[in-house]
Amino acid sequence: MHAGRVQQHPILGPLPDVPLVTFTFNGQPVQGRDGESIAAALWAAGIRVIRYAGRRREPRGLYCGIGHCYECRVTVNGIPNLRACMETVRANLAVEGGPDRGVEADGGTTHEG
């Protein structure tokens, strides 16, 4: 599962040196490359489930990767509903998956959050 980085790219060459920074995801420390997207850092660290959605608590993660689908919603430093694929990694960010409270609060009438 933990596939890691493209160390040697067939066209772009070796992985450039970028400072590593540590942030937390659901309280656990994760290392990312400074300035990359939170979704990329999580994927490289082997973390694919970003949140659990809807009444059935179905797992969701990165899907479109370019900010359209909103499946990778996270809370960053307390600000909810940001896209992990658009927000960039910085040191000491506190990232949490979700929330999906809106769905629970209304008794699950929203279609699968």
Partner: protein, 432 residues
């Protein structure tokens, strides 16, 4: 971000400019350089952290007109276009999401730059997005679009997985399969989506084999690389759907299987496997051949749809042109729309490649400069003619994602000539 000058805008609430360009992809960036180069104050807005849009993930080999191949280094092209725009004086508002657009024009933003931009002219270069491919299990983490996989490999330098399957056979999915494979992912195959009303024509083996042959035999020479692999050891006449090998044929050493479909993606919290089955000649799955293949990533590919929300909000007439990807803002030869101060460029006008978008950005930029009185009618008409010639030339050599893009463009030009009035009505090509 410093190199784009975006930091200068921190803390500014309202910004007034002559021209606002929404979208910092290839079209928006080249429009910015053209417009700012004519002395108009220009703001480029994008929700990404850096300029480039989809260019940032595009790293591949392109067939050249002379029969060889050349590298397309999207990130480098993005950096060059961004530097040109900055040098010309364009200002960037990055990490900024447009959430409101009001006549005037007033653009309301959420992000780190200004909260509001006032502009006399708009260039909408919003690009396109990939439609979802509904396969049972498609919401499982580990299932991504080929666009996401491309960004992971080429931009973020993250391996999408160890063993991948790609669902959907088209030019983009083949290119991304090849890029993943070259980066070290074992691509087990490129297969068909499950047959059914949701997949439509993309699930018919005959249509997909025809499409592969189109790619393989693209005239005059652009398809050499694919053709050499695809047709190796086969005669083109053998590659008809009914006798196409069930195990597929190898393109760049990746099995491409128009007669095998993915029926389901399985996994608990993340992708664990995919269920595959052969398709009968009637394009139905032969359940006797159903089997499970372990993979840790699934990439789906479907058609691309122009992102027309902003042209629609601006009041532009939209036309449905299937050969261009769906609804597009009705536009003229200089990329003017039915709303006098709104111009469009790039894939929002119809899905094509980045070199086309760059030329369109120049064209729209020139049209804005003309509308703002910065260039004469004569100069403008000469420019339009020149860039249109370059566009026609680029389209002759490009391997288009949509095979009938030229027919789509011709239909759109005809609709523009017939456009009765300016308004908000959608004009459907089916009604013409």
């Amino acid at each position: 971000m410093d190199r784009t000058g975006a930091w200068k805008l921190m803390g500014v609430r309202l910004m007034k400019v002559d021209v606002a360009i929404i979208g910092a992809g290839p079209a928006g960036l080249s429009a910015a350089a053209t417009i700012a180069g004519r002395g108009l104050s220009t703001a480029v807005i994008d929700e990404g952290a850096e300029p480039g849009g989809r260019l940032l993930g595009q790293v591949h080999e392109l067939p050249a007109a002379d029969g060889t191949t050349h590298l397309w280094n999207g990130p480098r092209v993005a950096a060059e276009l961004g530097a040109d725009a900055t040098k010309a004086g364009a200002r960037f508002c990055l990490r900024s999401v447009v959430w409101g657009l009001f006549p005037g024009w007033r653009i309301v933003l959420h992000g780190q730059g200004p909260q509001e931009i006032e502009a006399r002219y708009l260039v909408l270069a919003t690009g396109a997005m990939m439609r979802s491919l509904a396969v049972p299990g498609w919401t499982l983490p580990g299932v991504v679009t080929v666009g996401a996989a491309q960004m992971l490999v080429n931009h973020h330098r993250v391996l999408p997985g160890r063993r991948a399957i790609v669902i959907g056979i088209d030019l983009l999915s083949l290119a991304v399969a090849q890029q993943m494979s070259a980066a070290g992912v074992k691509v087990e195959g490129v297969v068909m989506p499950p047959p059914g009303p949701l997949a439509g024509e993309a699930s018919e083996p005959k249509r997909v084999v025809d499409e592969l042959l189109r790619l393989a035999t693209w005239a005059p020479s652009s398809g050499v690389r694919l053709a050499g692999r695809l047709l190796h050891g086969h005669r083109a006449s053998d590659l008809v759907a009914s006798v196409f090998p069930r195990g597929g044929i190898k393109v760049w050493d990746i099995p491409v299987m128009p007669r095998r479909a993915a029926l389901e993606i399985r996994g608990n919290d993340t992708v664990h496997s995919v269920v595959l089955a052969d398709l009968t000649t009637a394009a139905e799955p032969d359940m006797r051949t159903a089997h499970e293949l372990e993979v840790d990533v699934v990439c789906t590919s479907s058609s691309l749809a122009p992102l027309t929300e902003l042209p629609e909000i601006a009041g532009c007439t939209l036309s449905h042109i299937a050969d261009l990807g769906g609804y597009v803002p009705l536009h003229g030869p200089a990329l003017e729309t039915t709303v006098e101060t709104v111009f469009v460029a790039g894939s929002v006008t119809g899905v094509e490649d980045a070199p086309t978008a760059i030329l369109q950005g120049r064209l729209a930029g020139d049209a804005v400069a003309h509308a703002a009185g910065r260039i004469s009618d004569a100069e403008h008409h000469a420019h339009v003619e020149q860039v249109q010639t370059e566009l026609a030339d680029a389209r002759r050599h490009a391997l288009p994602l949509y095979p009938r893009v030229r027919e789509g463009r011709a239909l759109l030009a005809e609709l523009w000539r017939q456009a009765p009035s300016r308004g908000m009505d959608r004009v459907s090509s089916k009604e013409v």
